[in-house]
């Protein structure tokens, strides 16, 4: 983060949009060779510093996801995340996902997301989805998500009904 102040500013802007009253992150002196990562929250009336470990699971995950966005995906790298939606509120998933898709397209990177979440399935499965399938006790295969070409149901609804393989 310190090596890339411009991207750091972008990260902070994203986090201010994503987390109510978030101001910034900083490393606070906590003894010789010891720094604590703290988040600053608040408005003009005063701010409060909270240790990263004291944040909620959702806040910590959001901070990490946006860091990955700005410092990995934005540089055209490949990211692999298992269930990125864990601990994230429903309203937070799509904004992060849209930003990720946009960055991956723009910077020619690659993202591999593993998820059962309807938000991710609906957004990604029709164009980019692959699914792991196994018939009976056979071996697991990877297939492109076929969905149903004639269906107006969202992809996640097809999966929920077990109709995703046509």
């Amino acid at each position: 983060m310190q090596d890339d102040p411009r991207e750091n500013q972008e990260l902070l802007a994203s986090l201010r949009e994503a987390i109510d009253d978030f101001n910034f992150l900083e490393l606070e002196f906590a003894g010789e060779n010891i720094r604590l990562l703290v988040a600053d929250f608040g408005r003009q009336s005063g701010s409060v510093k909270t240790g990263f470990n004291e944040l909620s699971d959702g806040q910590r995950c959001l901070i990490c996801l946006y860091m990955i966005l700005h410092f990995v995906a934005a540089k055209g790298n490949t990211i692999v995340i298992d269930e990125p939606e864990n601990f994230i509120s429903l309203a937070e998933i799509q904004p992060w996902l849209m930003k990720l898709i946009d960055l991956v397209e723009d910077r020619k990177g690659q993202a591999i997301l593993i998820s059962h979440h309807p938000e991710l399935i609906n957004q990604l499965a029709p164009g980019h989805g692959v699914q792991f399938v196994r018939d009976g006790i056979g071996s697991v295969r990877v297939e492109p998500f076929r969905g149903d070409p004639d269906s107006s149901l969202p992809p996640a609804e097809l999966v929920a009904r077990g109709w995703e393989r046509g």
């Binding site: 904004p95 898709i101 946009d102 397209e105 723009d106 957004q123 029709p126 969905g147 004639d150 269906s151």
Partner: protein, 181 residues
């Protein structure tokens, strides 16, 4: 732009979504934009938009005035007005009144499809009959297209003569977003 706290987008596929996403970025509205998930089937996006439209308008009208609804549906080979009539018919079929000028309900109807607009916004002289869906590198042009769309929708901007009719018709539609409350 008038104060908008949320934008709902009903778009037929992800390429339509990205063009709108990039356009709304110019107004810092990405964060408050919700894209309705497109359908599973490929090629049935426009039908899905028409089916969803009345419910989306109904939900929109229950919200405060700061919400906007953007509908993006390709005209394909048919007349653009045919899509307009289909949307109006969807409203009347659901016992909903027609859209009025003050409502922030925006109809964007690319003809032949959104790829026509992307190429046209890039500066290409294109017709509205040819299907450009398989044109190369389309996805790489979306951000530049969104920037041009932004410029063309600024007040008092002269629209260049190569602008296709469906895109020209979209400019006053987009300005609904900017109309006074």
């Amino acid at each position: 732009m008038a104060r908008i706290s949320q934008v709902i987008v009903l778009a037929e596929d992800t390429r339509h979504q990205r063009l709108i996403y990039r356009y709304l970025d110019r107004f810092s509205l990405q964060r408050v934009t919700r894209f309705e998930p497109p359908p599973s089937g490929r090629g049935c996006g426009e039908q899905w938009v028409r089916e969803r439209y009345a419910n989306s308008v109904r939900a929109f009208r229950k919200r405060h005035a700061d919400t906007a609804l953007i509908v993006v549906i390709d005209a394909h080979a048919g007349d653009m007005n045919r899509r307009v009539r289909q949307l109006e018919s969807a409203l009347s079929g659901a016992q909903l009144s027609v859209r009025i000028a003050e409502e922030k309900i925006v109809h964007l109807i690319p003809r032949r499809n959104v790829e026509t607009w992307i190429l046209n916004l890039k500066g290409d002289r294109v017709d509205e009959e040819t299907d450009f869906r398989r044109a190369p590198e389309i996805d790489d042009l979306i951000d530049a297209a969104a920037q041009t769309l932004f410029e063309w929708t600024r007040p008092n901007t002269a629209i260049p003569p190569h602008c296709v009719p469906s895109l020209r018709a979209a400019i006053p539609e987009i300005k609904r977003l900017e109309s006074a409350q």
